[in-house]
């Protein structure tokens, strides 16, 4: 039986803690009957689709102070997990220090959903389209749990096979290192994000790729990070492709190898609307094309740095 209306079940009680600690304690007390809610857009969609039951208790994170906003801290760009996606897009700090993240967020849902949905919600879904960009930006997550505050690399958290459900904690911030790019004289930073779906806008993704790195004055690549996701795929870094490129020039040989490596290593979760092969080859195409744009030929052919491949 498909669950359809919230009223069919009890309407959940809504708890509105004022601090992260209070929220964590409430969750611990209520256990599996309770769910943290931020913007609630994904929860609502899942309840409506019947893929998730409406819980007995909602713990609203929206009234906790200090969980939203964007600021600089300890050499990082700190983004409060409760920051609405549209607020992220409009934030000048994020635009300056993590444009790849802004580019990714711009492709998520539509304006009205981005007004409510939060960056934290997109992250904890583990398949959100901001994730490849955050991976490429080497982001970390700041959690608040019963044992206090803990920071871990986003890449590490995503590579956990199954998150430990018994561990009660909430995502407080995502941190993006400001990067030492200024220290490398004359290195040219580049980044790109692509989302390919089945429609031009407001589409579920089939393929997402993000990459960033530096082109040294001698033409060699350094600091390369490449990630890919899409659909129900938990995004991951493509480490072997990164390693393959490090210290090399983006010449046809290197690009050919990267093409193969991306296609081999990117393992999308099955999607009923597109075969894996299409997604692998699309990811490979987008990655090598972004690298090719760094070459003289690529620039001459109209591939603008950092611009989408279209």
């Amino acid at each position: 039986m498909v669950l359809r209306h919230e009223e069919i079940l009890q309407s959940p009680s809504v708890w509105r803690p004022r601090t992260p600690e209070e929220a964590v304690a409430r969750k611990r007390a209520l256990g599996a009957d309770a769910v943290f809610a931020a913007g609630g857009t994904l929860l609502r969609t899942r309840w409506e689709a019947g893929t998730e039951a409406i819980p007995r208790h909602l713990i609203d994170l929206g009234s906790i102070e200090g969980l939203s906003g964007i600021w600089l801290q300890d050499g990082d760009l700190a983004i409060g997990a409760l920051t609405a996606l549209d607020d992220c897009l409009n934030d000048p700090l994020l635009g300056r220090h993590a444009p790849i993240v802004a580019q990714a967020i711009r492709t998520i849902a539509g304006w009205s959903v981005r007004n409510v949905a939060t960056i934290g919600g997109n992250i904890v879904s583990r398949t959100g389209d901001s994730l490849p960009a955050l991976l490429a930006a080497d982001a970390s997550l700041v959690w608040i749990g019963e044992d206090g505050e803990r920071t871990e690399k986003l890449a590490d958290w995503l590579s956990e096979p199954i998150p430990d459900r018994a561990r009660v904690r909430l995502l407080a911030q995502v941190r993006i290192p400001l990067g030492g790019d200024d220290s490398i004289a004359n290195a040219k930073r580049f980044f790109a994000f692509h989302k390919v779906g089945r429609r031009e806008a407001f589409t579920p993704s089939l393929v997402t790729v993000a990459l960033c790195g530096s082109l040294e004055p001698d033409g060699r690549l350094t600091g390369i990070r490449i990630s890919a996701g899409g659909g129900q795929t938990v995004p991951a870094r493509l480490k072997r492709a990164e390693e393959l490129l490090t210290g090399r020039m983006p010449d046809p040989d290197a690009l050919g190898e990267v093409y193969e490596q991306v296609a081999a290593d990117y393992a999308p979760a099955p999607d009923p609307f597109a075969p894996d092969m299409y997604r692998k080859l699309t990811a490979a195409n987008l990655v090598v094309t972004e690298l090719w744009k760094l070459t003289a030929a690529g620039e001459a052919a109209g591939g603008k740095e950092g611009a989408p491949c279209r």
């Binding site: 039986m1 498909v2 359809r4 209306h5 009223e7 069919i8 969609t45 409506e48 689709a49 390919v196 089945r198 429609r199 031009e200 806008a201 407001f202 589409t203 579920p204 393929v207 046809p252 040989d253 690009l255 050919g256 190898e257 093409y259 193969e260 296609a263 009923p272 609307f273 597109a274 075969p275 092969m277 299409y278 692998k280 080859l281 699309t282 490979a284 195409n285 987008l286 090598v288 094309t289 090719w292 030929a297 690529g298 052919a301 109209g302 591939g303 491949c309 279209r310």
Partner: protein, 761 residues
């Protein structure tokens, strides 16, 4: 002259239903509520195919606040519906044949309670093998949905000797084309309010495209006289053919009568997806050949259409497809075989274009492929083989002659976009190498009206009402196309009335004559015809009454804004209000006639056709295989433009829908289950798909002596775009598309700069 607001001048009018639409004031039928109303819900099958072992409703009935739980045992009349052939169960008795089949329905005090009550109805099913492929459903050892088998309908057509034709061919192209299960995706899902009246009648407030047909079907189900039922059916939040058949009406009506209280139903999107109609997925195999000069000698076609489990209008859609796979071309010999097949997939039925979309995608694909083989420009190739004035229709039937095919052909050859194509060949593109652009075109000949052998009544009534309003009553529906606006505009332009003089009455079986269905691009055409017939008697009656009242000779009086005016000076002599007061009874003129048909004995053959040509420019990103529509041109030969805003809107809107058919839309099913349950996975075009250039060129000229006036344009905009896009994709990347929506995987290319041969295994 391209059609837009500027070129339309004063004829571009604000729609009478506009102010209420832009303010949200307009009550749709799913917005209605009444004090004390109950909420209805339908229990549908969880299996695409199963035997019903038992149904137990006791638990659900015992819930306080649940007023009725109905099953097949509670249907007083015929437990079936279907416009053409009633074979769809209102409630299944012993077997379910698709995921939307209804088993029971409840009415309860709240929607929550009704939903809960559904969970308390106990149904034991015994799943049966699922027949989900029409081809294998035809094999003798397939599981049968019905005792008589899985064939719903066959329609064949032949003319000349195709074998001999192929033997004489120099070039032959053979291809199989597949089209998707497109969903209408009207923004307002099905629903309505069902009210038992104190006098024992039942009022049904629920969208449909033919109120009288609903009334007839409901009378049959409820076992009541039709006169005891009133169907109010407009305004409608979109239909596109999808609400022509009954949907929630049987359940609302049965529940309301069982409870003696008003009942409201409003489908969720998922319920709309699972129970509603879709466009027939078709597989069309064509073998077509020419001689060495490019003259079409033989055309052989096989159509297999997936009807889903019940008939509705599947046979009629198939007949239409048979006619339109032949289309506007002369063939030496033609042989068409077609079959519509019952499966356990979703219900297929009427959808804007009515089988023409699938047929013409295939037919135009053949034209492009043959032209390529011959090395002839594809547009020229079409002209070489086009039917000529005086030629019969596709099925050899007499048709109303126009020069539409040649007119739209020439308009396209002369349009900006086509000239741009010619110029583009000599220009090097400055785009990145993975972006490829291309141009394509398609020709469309589309029948209007229901065709031979199907009752196709028309009619209307004009009344000078007691309050002085000129009341125009028609049995048509307003589902967004601008029918009310078109009617108002015709009354103003043909009779000289002012908008303020008019009261337009539609969509209410108690108040309007049966004008037939608002379908098959027929309503505007039939309103025009009706007004033409009503003009002389109604104008005469008004003038006669005025003459009597004023003591002035009739010849000195004309109809005008606000009332009867002096024929010479134009000054107002008597207002319609005053005129009405002088009459002892309302002045009425009424007409009844039928849509014109061809004098042949071929069911479904059409008499009136509309022609269109479509040119497009697309961009293919070979890194992702995605296609973007950049620019489009439509020439439409459909006679005079009745309502410029409506005309433009129909072509733009139809084309938008066709873009989805071509690129993004498919209600994908797996073993009889929908994978696309809502608009998060079923993707209709957004504004980002459709912000490119758009030009409509109406060709209004009709042959001298043509009596039929404006042809409908409700469907034709939705037909030609997909084949034009397929041609443009080929122009861009050299690949032929034979399946819609276009699969990006087909268009993916490895970047050329990877000059080292790296093969992905």
């Amino acid at each position: 002259m391209p059609l837009n607001r500027t070129t339309s001048g004063d004829r571009w009018r604000v729609r009478p239903d506009g102010p209420d639409k832009v303010t949200g004031r307009l009550p749709y039928l799913t917005d209605l509520s009444l004090p004390g109303m109950l909420h209805g819900r339908v229990l549908r099958s969880p299996y695409p195919h199963a035997r019903i072992v038992s149904i137990r409703t006791e638990k659900a009935k015992a819930i306080p606040g649940v007023c009725a739980v109905l099953t097949s045992a509670d249907v007083p009349g015929l437990n079936r519906f279907g416009i053409a052939r009633p074979d769809q169960p209102v409630f299944c008795e012993d077997r379910v044949r698709f995921i939307g089949d209804a088993v029971a329905a409840v009415a309860a005090e709240t929607e929550a309670l009704a939903a809960y009550a559904l969970t308390q109805i106990e149904v034991d099913y015994e799943p049966l093998p699922v027949v989900d492929d029409p081809e294998s459903a035809l094999s003798p050892d397939s599981v049968k949905l019905f005792e008589h088998g899985n064939v719903l309908h066959r329609s064949d057509y032949g003319c000349g000797d195709v074998e001999a034709g192929f033997a004489a061919c120099r070039h032959i192209v053979e291809e199989t084309y597949s089209t998707p299960r497109q969903m209408h995706t009207y923004m307002e899902t099905e629903g309505g309010l069902f009210v038992p009246e104190p006098n024992g009648r039942l009022t049904v407030y629920a969208p449909t495209q033919h109120g009288f047909m609903d009334r007839m079907q409901l009378a049959r189900i409820l076992n009541r006289p039709e006169a005891d039922i009133r169907v109010v059916s407009s305004p409608i939040g979109g239909s596109f053919g999808g609400k022509d058949e009954l949907n929630v009406q049987p359940y609302g009506a049965l529940l309301a009568l069982a409870c003696g209280r008003p009942v409201k139903l409003h489908n969720s999107r998922w319920e709309s997806v699972r129970a509603g109609l879709k466009r027939h997925p078709m597989k069309i195999t064509m073998k077509t050949g020419t001689d060495e000069h490019g003259r079409l000698l033989a055309h052989q076609v096989r159509i297999v259409s997936d009807a889903g489990p019940y008939s509705t209008l599947s046979a009629e859609v198939l007949n239409f497809a048979v006619e339109h796979v032949i289309g506007p071309y002369r063939f030496g010999a033609v042989k068409v075989e077609s079959v519509s097949v019952f499966t356990n997939n979703g219900m297929s039925g009427e959808f804007r274009g009515f089988g023409g979309n699938q047929a013409i995608f295939a037919l135009e694909g053949q034209m492009d492929r043959l032209a390529e083989k011959l090395g002839i420009d594809p547009w020229t190739f079409r002209l070489m083989n086009m039917r000529q004035p005086g030629d019969p229709g596709p099925l050899g039937q007499p048709i109303a002659q126009t020069d539409g095919a040649r007119q739209v052909w020439e308009a396209l050859a002369d349009c900006r976009l086509w000239k741009e194509k010619a110029a583009a060949g000599n220009r090097s593109e400055t785009r990145p190498p993975w972006i490829k652009t291309g141009y394509g075109a398609a020709l469309v000949m589309h029948g209007a009206g229901l065709g031979v052998g199907i009752p196709d009544p028309a009619g209307g009534r004009l009344t000078l009402a007691g309050d002085g309003k000129i009341e125009a009553a028609f049995g048509y529906e307003e589902f967004g196309q601008g029918l009310i606006a078109s009617l108002e505009q015709m009354l103003i332009e043909q009779f000289g009335f002012d908008a303020q003089d008019l009261r337009i009455v539609i969509g209410d079986t108690d108040a309007v004559p049966d004008s037939g269905s608002s379908t098959a691009s027929r309503a505007t055409s039939m309103m025009w015809q009706a007004l033409k017939r009503l003009h002389p008697p109604f104008a005469t009656a008004l003038r006669k009454q005025a003459s009597r009242a004023l003591g002035v000779g009739m010849e000195k009086l004309v109809l005008g804004r606000g009332g009867i005016r002096d024929a010479e000076s134009g000054s107002l002599l008597i207002s319609y209000g005053e005129l009405a007061k002088t009459a002892s009874e309302p002045i009425v003129a009424e007409t009844k006639f039928a849509y014109p048909t061809s004098p042949v004995d071929r069911v479904g053959a059409h008499y009136l056709y509309t022609y269109a040509s479509v040119a497009v420019k697309v961009e293919v990103n070979t890194l992702t295989g995605r296609v973007k529509l950049l620019d489009q041109f439509h020439a439409v030969a459909a006679g005079p433009v009745v309502n410029p805003q409506g005309y433009l809107g129909q072509i733009e809107g139809g084309s938008g829908m066709a873009l989805g058919f071509a690129l993004t839309e498919d209600a994908v099913m797996d073993k009889g289950m929908y994978l696309t349950r809502n608009l998060d996975t079923y993707l209709i075009p957004t504004i980002a798909e459709l912000s490119g250039g758009f030009e409509v060129l109406p060709i209004e000229e009709l042959p001298e002596g043509d009596k039929h006036g404006p042809r409908g344009v409700g469907e034709i905009g939705s037909v030609g775009l997909a084949p034009a896009i397929a041609a443009a994709v080929h122009d861009a990347v050299g690949k032929r598309v034979n399946k819609l929506p276009i699969d990006p995987a087909l268009l993916l290319e490895k970047p050329v700069f990877l000059n080292k041969a790296v093969e992905w295994r």
